[in-house]
Every structure is written in structure tokens, then in C-alpha cells.
């Protein structure tokens, strides 16, 4: 059930309902080079519209192309370009199929490559593209949450000698989440491009790994409007943290990530903080980190919230979604930004450890 504020309609009608603003001087459409052959590969999500007052989450499945005669390929740069209105673009390696099945998708193409898509629309309650059951063992490959007019591109150059391993034929899932609301408008159409640059240096690189941590049992309630939820994640081996970003929704006020010694339940000192964001709809991705995490240590993260009423839904909608039925307009875990909340850490480290690192 969608709510469309009337006062928004007039303002949005000229900018969001079929009237692209590519000619807007403040907006220059992105233009990425097309990679092929040994240079790497380019994925291009077919452009689509997001109706005003709606959100859209799509899951695209595509196989890694064979660029090296069947050998694994190494990616040392990921360049993404995303039109404004994007809430996130995540790329996962597909492992265990739980609900979200590439074979159930509709055929499409991502640039030059055949693909399938499961369009989740804003059917967060039923569509598997909105589910989180695959997070535990689908390693994150890359992500970007940056998509503002002045900064459409995220250029992630991995540290020297470090690269992401991909195997020809392995399935990737590109998940797009667009929001077309007053506080995160999709004014120029939904458009996403990703370039995966193949490492040219023939020497074997150090493999990059990823860590996905999430606090899903969160409650941001009217009667307790300033909660903070914190979690920890231990890493068994000694690693270096190279990049990180946090992810929450509209109630999110501050996201911070710290080095954690794995030995104390006291909050880490401020000096241990290596990531901070106070921007829910355009959080930065820090890519120049070099944070040493000795074996059996890890990270601590805080998600700080300020309760506020929903913009496009109502508290009745929020209450209907509350599994505990507290009738306190409690935002609980959920993908729709107006009535659900997240508290997720996306982090990249090297060398990769054997097991997928997922903490909850």
C-alpha cells in the first residue's frame, strides 16, 4: 500500500513522471568506458523508471565472463556509476539458493552479457529480492551507496597487490535499490553501470575478502526515540581492513565502526574509530583504509537512531510490520526505507580468510 503526499505531486510531476532532466545543468549523465577482453568486463543495468512515492529493488543475475581461457580473473578496480535516487547497489557472489533463485528470473542483459532479473518493485513483504536469507553465505563483492548529482561515480582502486578473485561462470547478483521520495528522489531515471577492471600485473595478488555484519533485531520506537544498537564481529586471522561503509535508513543519525580488541565489552575508544557517517541516504564509502586487525580481534559498530514518523506511510503501517505488535510505531528490520530500518556493515579486508565472514 503506497502513500503519495499530494503536496509532493505538483512538485514531482515535472521532474519525476516521465520527464527526464538530463538537460538539467546540474546533472551530467555518467559515461563509463566499455571494457572488454583482457581489460575486464562492464555491466550495465537497463535503465528504468521509479514512480514517485515508490521504491524499487531489483536482483540481476549474471555469470562472470571467461576473460582468461577458463582461468580465474583478478579484479583490482571497481568503478561504478549510479544515477541519483539509488539507495544502494550491492554485488554478491551467488552461493546457496534460498528463495531468491536466478533460474526464476526474467531474461535480460547487463551490457553485453545475458542475465536474468527478479524485479522486487516495492513488494518487500513477498518478493524474494527483498529477503535477507541469502546474506549469510553470499559474499559481498562490491557495493556503492553514493549517487548524488555531483558524485555519480565510485572509483574503488584496491590496494597495491590486492585483488578480488572471480571464476568464469560463477554467478553474480547485482542488487539495485532505488527510492523516489522527497528525501531521496530519483529524478533522472534509474541507471547503473559497473566496470570490473582486470588486474594486468601477472604476479599473484593477495585476495580481497569481505565482511557483512548486520544487526537485525533492532527496534526504534516512539517511546524510546534515541536508541543505539551495537554489535561486534570477530575475524579469526590477522587481516588489514581496506574499505568500509555503513548502511541504515531514514532514522539513522550516525553510523560508526571501530577496531575492537576482541577482549573487552567496553566501547572502543574514539581513537579506534575508522569509519563515521551521519548521512543515511548518501553514506560515504571509505576506500583508503589500512587498519590492521590482528587475529582474534575484529570490529565494533554503532547504529544511532532518531525516531521520526514515516513520510509516505503511516504509523499504522509501521505497527502492522512489527512482529511484537507493540503498537508503539516501532521501526524494525526491513528493506523499505520509510517503514523499515537497517544496521549493516559492509567491509573489505585482506588477505581473505577461508570462510565467509558474516556476523549478526
Amino acid at each position: 500500500m503506497r502513500l503519495l503526499p499530494i503536496f509532493v505531486l505538483a512538485g514531482l510531476a515535472l521532474t519525476q513522471n516521465g520527464c527526464h532532466s538530463d538537460s538539467d545543468p546540474a546533472f551530467t549523465p555518467w559515461d563509463l568506458e566499455d571494457l572488454n577482453g583482457m581489460n575486464g568486463f562492464s555491466l550495465r543495468v537497463p535503465e528504468f523508471e521509479v514512480p514517485a512515492g515508490h521504491e524499487s529493488q531489483n536482483c540481476y543475475f549474471v555469470q562472470v565472463p571467461d576473460l582468461a581461457s577458463g582461468q580465474d580473473i583478478w579484479i583490482d578496480r571497481v568503478l561504478s556509476a549510479i544515477n541519483p535516487g539509488s539507495h544502494h547497489v550491492n554485488v554478491f557472489q551467488v552461493k546457496t539458493i534460498i528463495g531468491l533463485d536466478p533460474a526464476m528470473g526474467t531474461p535480460t542483459t547487463l551490457g553485453a552479457y545475458p542475465a536474468t532479473v527478479i524485479e522486487g518493485g516495492d513488494d518487500y513483504a513477498n518478493n524474494p529480492c527483498w529477503g535477507s536469507s541469502n546474506w549469510a553465505d553470499w559474499p559481498l563483492v562490491a557495493n556503492s551507496q553514493q549517487a548524488n548529482i555531483g558524485e555519480l561515480e565510485t572509483d574503488w582502486k584496491l590496494p597495491d597487490g590486492v585483488a578480488i578473485r572471480m571464476t568464469p561462470g560463477e554467478m553474480l547478483m547485482v542488487q539495485t535499490h532505488y527510492v523516489n521520495s522527497t528525501d531521496q528522489p530519483t529524478m533522472y531515471g534509474a541507471r547503473v553501470g559497473i566496470n570490473f577492471y582486470q588486474r594486468q600485473d601477472p604476479t599473484p595478488p593477495i585476495e580481497m575478502g569481505s565482511l557483512f555484519a548486520t544487526q537485525q533485531n533492532i527496534r526504534i520506537c516512539a517511546s524510546n526515540p534515541n536508541p543505539t544498537f551495537s554489535g561486534t564481529c570477530r575475524i579469526p586471522g590477522a587481516v588489514t581492513i581496506a574499505a568500509a561503509n555503513g548502511h541504515f535508513h531514514k532514522r539513522g543519525k550516525r553510523f560508526s565502526i571501530y577496531s575492537w580488541d576482541g577482549a573487552s565489552i567496553e566501547h572502543p575508544a574514539d581513537a579506534a574509530m575508522f569509519y563515521e557517517s551521519d548521512n543515511w541516504n548518501d553514506p560515504p564509502m571509505v576506500t583508503d583504509l589500512s587498519v590492521a586487525a590482528p587475529a582474534q580481534t575484529g570490529v565494533w559498530w554503532d547504529c544511532e537512531y532518531q525516531w521520526q514518523p514515516p513520510d509516505e506511510f503511516t504509523c499504522a503501517d509501521v505497527n502492522a510490520k512489527d512482529p511484537l505488535q507493540a503498537n508503539d510505531c516501532c521501526y524494525t528490520f526491513g528493506g523499505i526505507t520509510d517503514i523499515g530500518e537497517h544496521c549493516n556493515v559492509f567491509m573489505y579486508y585482506y588477505p581473505k580468510i577461508d570462510s565467509n565472514v558474516f556476523c549478526e
Binding site: P5, S223, G231, T314
Partner: protein
Amino acid sequence: MTRLIRVSSHGYAYAYVIGAALLGSCGGSDKPTAKSCPIGDPTAPAELQIVNLEADQATVNLTQASDLVPLVPPPQGGWIVLLGARARNLDGCQLTLTTALVDACTGQILQVDVRPTQLELGDDGWGVSSLTTFGNLPVCPQLTATRDLHDVPYIVKVVVEDTHGQKASAQLSIIPTCGTEPSRCTCECARDYVMGQSCDQPPIDAGVSTCVDAP
């Protein structure tokens, strides 16, 4: 303040009007503030006992040493224990609850969960965490576990601290125990379980329950 009024659910026209009643069911303000509710004597040292929720998630148990504490499957997967506070001499509405899982063999802290809790005042003068504000302490899977995470002792630490600095802590040795979906629980709580591994087949080994050297 603005009020959102649903004019039609299928004609899809909605209007914002000025008003103050949007939050009739939500507290009545855009930015409500948390209330204060002292429990006991806030000038006396804070006191704390650990409580846990049983598998029905409705029954509160005063946790004792070596208690069997049920492992509960939360929405995100895995298995958690639900720990709360029975406390007094602090502000029951402005309280942060920290729960931690500690390996009894190595002393290593495997997981920490921090969240707000609200105490409900009982007839005995103690406040107990409301059912919706228990700590969700993830127990398994644990990538860094050195032994099984079910049916063997682990230490839990609990700390409560209010916004005025009143603070108390407690710890106990408990035995996380599979009750719901025991086959999947024992599989996912085995030391050697790897995220995403199928639990359709019974585990090959008999488990690792005694203390072993950390890798």
C-alpha cells in the same frame, strides 16, 4: 507538524494537512523524548541480576549458574539467547543493556550486543527488562569458536548503565541448549559448521565440547 491523511487507498490521493494528531498512536510528537522512571534508590549502588527469556519468548527466568538457556532462532538466522536485566537503584527507562558471550575455556569474548532496555517495575521493587527489550546475544554460528556452542558451558556477561552513570554488571556460566529445531540447531551450533553449509545430513563428527587450544 504535518499530518498525513489517507484519502483513498486505491484512488491513491493523499494529502498533508497541518495538525498535531499524526502520532495519535505513536506518541504525539515528531521528536519525542524518552521518559525517566527511577527504580529503587538512585543514590544507592545499582544492583543487577541476569534474566533470560524461555523458548516461548514470553516467560522470564531468573538465570542461575549452569542453567540451560534456550537457543532461539531469530529472524536473521542463526541462534541467539535472549538476556535481560533484573535491576534496581537506577533509571529503568534510560538504560543501556550490554550482553556478551565469553568462551569459558579461553576467556575470549565471542560476541557483544548493546541495545536499550526498559525495565518494568514489579511488586518487589525490582525492575525487569520488558519482553521487547531483551538483549539478542548471537551465539551461533561463530566463526572463531573453538568448540561446540550448544550443550556446553559458556559465560555470559551483562552490564546495565543508565544515563546518570548508575551501572552494574553480573556474569554467569550458562549452558546454551537447543530446543527448537534441534537437528538444525545442533548442526549450526557445532564448532565446525561453516556458513551456508547444508544441515540436511547429520554431522559427521561427535562434536567438540571440551576445551581445546585456540588455533
